[in-house]
């Protein structure tokens, strides 16, 4: 399914800092280092899962890659073209190619807009289709995500969470994008509905050769849907490997800790539980050296001083840790 030869996206040293303002004069007093140096290639047709604790910068990274916010630093090459520094105006053409599916199916649809009008808008913005052609497109979209033509004139609050998420998906695929960031796209749904929405996402991926960045805190779902999984910690990349390998043979101490926290599928098979102690450090003031050293069971003196480099320890398996 995935084509390792051809990166669709080359993300290099991307940083995203948010200024912290304070005082009477609203001066910048520091920065929340939401994303601190992420380098990764995303291949055409793959699903890249991203996991990590709440607040580790997954959503920020997703938004930064879509250029919904300006980057603090770094470069993003999409289909051979640098978009990290492109102005908003020039970016418009790329917005067709990159879309997002949001976590909250209640908050991601304008409550005052009928579903048909909401889906039509993408075509108003990007095409010169007539009203009739646009309606036809929207009806096709509804059909494609498993909704009915009669839903065209309804308001979002008339739908269930799963149906709303389908509307969100329809909106994301309306312009035939090649890359979609799914930020906790199924986290808010009931388990049975989750499975249906995931199936829809997979079907659409196959049909349209979509590339997904699938952000979630649900490690089980991520394993199920992803080809490769990226583990993030405090804005940094900790480990990246094909999904099965990372679940069966995690190398980074943080990944081990994360995975040992999920219930084991096969009872009897023991896994050494690694417990995470302490809280996530403040991203405005991250620890020196390896950002994980404050909670790492293997931490050494070197970890407190020197930042581990992001390296490929075996084929397709990247880790940032001195002890691997």
């Amino acid at each position: 399914m995935m084509n390792l030869q051809q990166p669709l996206l080359q993300i290099n040293n991307v940083k995203k800092y948010y200024p912290i303002k304070g005082g009477i004069l609203q001066r910048v007093q520091g920065h929340v280092k939401a994303v601190e140096d992420v380098t990764i290639d995303v291949y055409e047709g793959e699903t890249l899962g991203i996991v990590g604790e709440s607040g580790c910068g997954k959503s920020t990274f997703g938004r930064a890659v879509l250029r919904l916010e300006p980057l603090t630093e770094g470069s993003i090459v999409f289909k051979g073209q640098e978009i990290g520094t492109l102005s908003d105006r020039k970016l418009k053409a790329f917005k067709r190619e990159m879309q997002m599916i949001f976590q909250d199916p209640y908050a991601s649809l304008n409550p005052r807009q009928r579903v048909g009008d909401a889906l039509e808008e993408a075509f108003i913005i990007h095409t010169s289709l007539s009203k009739k052609e646009r309606k036809e497109k929207v009806l096709n979209l509804l059909d494609e995500v498993g909704l009915k033509a009669e839903h065209y004139d309804r308001y979002p609050h008339e739908f269930s969470g799963g149906q709303r998420q389908r509307i969100g998906i329809a909106r994301a695929i309306s312009l035939n994008p090649s890359f979609i960031v799914c930020d906790e796209a199924v986290s808010a749904l009931d388990v049975s509905v989750q499975a249906q929405v995931i199936k829809l996402l997979k079907d659409l991926q196959e049909k349209h050769q979509l590339t997904y960045m699938f952000i979630s805190h649900d490690l089980g779902v991520v394993r199920h849907i992803s080809d490769r999984v990226l583990v993030m910690y405090l804005g940094n990349t900790a480990e990246l490997a094909p999904a099965d390998r990372i679940y069966d043979n995690p190398l980074h101490p943080y990944t081990k800790a994360l995975l040992s926290a999920i219930p084991r599928p096969v009872p009897g098979r023991k896994r050494n539980r690694v417990k995470l102690e302490g809280d996530l450090p403040n991203p405005a003031n991250p620890p020196k050296g390896c950002s994980f050293h404050t909670r790492c069971p293997l931490a050494t003196v070197r970890c407190k001083e020197e930042r581990p480099i992001w390296r490929e320890v075996e084929e397709n398996h990247f880790v940032a840790c001195h002890e691997v």
Binding site: P111, E158, L175
Partner: protein, 300 residues
């Protein structure tokens, strides 16, 4: 549709039938359960009828003098609300006064709202302009209430038109703050981010997505502001800064009636009651709308 979602839809059916109706219907239904608001609506409806049909529901000109009939009391033959010191029919003057107060109120509220909404949208949405616009708004706020209106009239001269301008300028800062506040909360919503990721421009996002979701507080403000505008018009005219004699403006009528308080109290009491009723009506309607347009309500 997959089975489990169909079930979810089924259980929502009760809500759905209600949801099919427009916001307006839902809001009106809630509003009509509020007795005070219904009373307010009734008074406003009567004022509108008087304003629209003024020439057809009166038999006398509101300005032509008839000294032989001066100072007739309430309940006189042919003049059921009596006449004033120049013998003008009080009913005609009240009816035409209703027209003036409605028009002045509407025009000044619409003008003020236009300015306030524009400033509020821009300052809430574009952070770079926010500081400057809010400084200007604070400047307008520095003058206590009606003093600002009086200051503007002092600069422009006394006339009803200038009263409208003054009151609309006075409405701008409050309206701008209300709108800015709503914009700040609406623009953080995911559906706004979704529109950005679709590549929608700022004006599309502001007008099609942010403004409609800020309407509830704007409608409440506009209704309450009608009361303020009507009261201020009369207050300014009472002080001689607005409508000039013989214009049948209610505040001006009270001012003219002051000298006849003991001989013809109806000259002050009748327009006084008119102002009171209308101001009360818009205020209770505004209150009712505030409750009916509960922002947490599931609107569609």
């Amino acid at each position: 549709m997959p089975a489990s979602e169909a079930v979810a839809t089924q259980s929502k059916l009760g809500k759905q039938t209600e949801g099919k109706q427009k916001v307006i219907v839902v809001t009106l239904k809630k509003l009509l359960k509020n007795r005070l608001a219904v009373f307010g609506l009734f008074i406003i409806f009567i004022q509108i009828l008087m304003a629209v049909f003024a020439p057809w529901i009166t038999h006398y000109s509101p300005v032509t003098q008839s000294l032989v009939n001066s100072e007739l009391p309430v309940g006189s033959e042919n003049h059921w609300l009596g006449t004033d010191n120049y013998g003008r029919d009080m009913w005609s003057r009240i009816v035409f006064g209703a027209r003036i107060s409605l028009v002045v109120g509407l025009v000044s509220v619409i003008l003020g709202l236009t300015g306030g909404i524009a400033l509020g949208l821009i300052s809430g949405y574009f952070r770079k302009l926010d500081g400057w616009i809010m400084r200007f708004v604070d400047l307008l706020f520095a003058f206590p209430g009606i003093l600002l209106a009086m200051l503007i009239i002092a600069m422009l001269g006394t006339s009803l038109v200038n009263v409208m301008i003054a009151i609309s300028i006075w409405s701008i800062p409050t309206c701008a703050r209300i709108v800015r506040g709503s914009v700040l909360s609406v623009k953080k919503q995911e559906y706004i981010v979704a529109m950005k990721s679709l590549g929608a421009g700022n004006s599309r996002i502001l007008i099609k997505h942010i403004l409609p979701n800020c309407m509830a507080p704007i409608i409440v403000f506009a209704t309450m502001r009608m009361a303020t505008a009507i009261l201020s018009t009369s207050a300014l005219s009472f002080l001689g800064l607005g409508a000039q004699p013989p214009t049948p403006e209610w505040g001006a009528m009270i001012a003219a009636g002051q000298d006849y308080m003991w001989t013809s109290p109806h000259m002050t009491i009748v327009p006084g009651i008119a102002i009171m009723l209308v101001v009360f009506a818009f205020n209770v309607l505004g209150d009712g709308l505030r409750d009916a347009l509960d922002p947490n309500m599931d609107l569609g």
